[in-house]
Symmetry: D2
Subunit: 117 residues, 4 copies
């Protein structure tokens, strides 16, 4: 995977919005909706596929999915920037919390939510 | 923002799932749904807030939102991994496409979608 | 509002799918994703609008939103049909539960979730 | 399925909100987000299930799903009310449009979107 960081993306998106005077639209409420809108587009690629079909997308579809996933990421990074959230740090923190909530011994082979383990 | 990369996250998530034998659940169709489920939780924090309130969350709420945003990111990274998509590269590619779709001169100060500019 | 019932819709959708041999695609997992995909399209109409703008949509936009809302409803009715859920009865039951969870005296003028009231 | 209409639901929801002075929160932008938040909860019930498991939910899960589906419907009906949209009429209109977009002869047995048929 490419080596750029979420901080690189954050800075590029901030500059992109600034050049276009888009900060007026990019408040957190709007950006949260934009994330959700893009996720809807992502889902549409998968909704009628069997799990097996979804796991072996034709090249062209996979390219489209890659750009939809990118849209989700871009708005998510932008949302966090406007909220003053360090997304990379939050992801690390969540990984640590998940390791506690889902100890290997209890969760192995199970899709059960932690509060029912 | 912290300096870790999407590739770091990808590798950690793959190891996390592997230790728990979760690959059986982590097919792309399921992961796309999981991304959407987490986005729903993210939205719930904002739905009854005015744009001004959403832009000045209390510290405790902001912490909760940070972890919801992290959940979205973690499942998105995992989805891309299972699809063989380089998410960081896709984000760079999408930024370049957006620069073409939204030239500064035409899009400045407008929330109009590119196909109506 | 028109007087047709959810049961009318359910029956029409079942016939529509049957004529097209679409039951093979209309399993509950797929239909839940389809509901979410349509909601994403609904959101996109509102994401860059201020609350005031969203409350006074131009006629043409309102027509588009009406059809997106219809899409959400159609897949939701179809999902419930395939699950053997009586959606109209569930809505009545939820209204009764909400009346208990949100007593007028405690919830008046507040957007607070019931478990924090 | 129960025989009540969307108009019944609309009127009950309007009275419910009025008694609680909730119109201040129930603007279309907020309600669109609320629909999406509820759909996220709906999805979470299905995300780790195989299509077969999702089609044969245990009774208790099906009850929970019924209430989540009801939540989606209630906010959708409320959204349409605040926008002045006749949801039942829109659903009828969409069914007619779909019959044109997906003629039996062309769409039989296919999940292909109409613009690619």
């Amino acid at each position: 995977m490419s080596s750029n960081t979420l901080e690189d993306l954050r800075a590029k998106l901030a500059a992109f919005a600034d050049e276009r005077d888009w900060d007026q639209f990019h408040n957190p409420k709007n950006l949260a909706m934009a994330v959700a809108g893009e996720v809807g587009e992502l889902l549409e690629h998968f909704q009628w596929l069997t799990p097996d079909e979804a796991a072996s997308l034709p090249e062209a579809t996979r390219d489209e999915v890659a750009l939809e996933a990118a849209d989700v990421l871009l708005f998510l990074v932008r949302l966090c920037d406007k909220l003053g959230i360090d997304l990379a740090a939050a992801a690390e923190r969540k990984l640590e919390l998940n390791a506690v909530k889902y100890p290997v011994g209890k969760s192995r082979g199970l899709a059960t939510k932690y509060d029912k383990l």
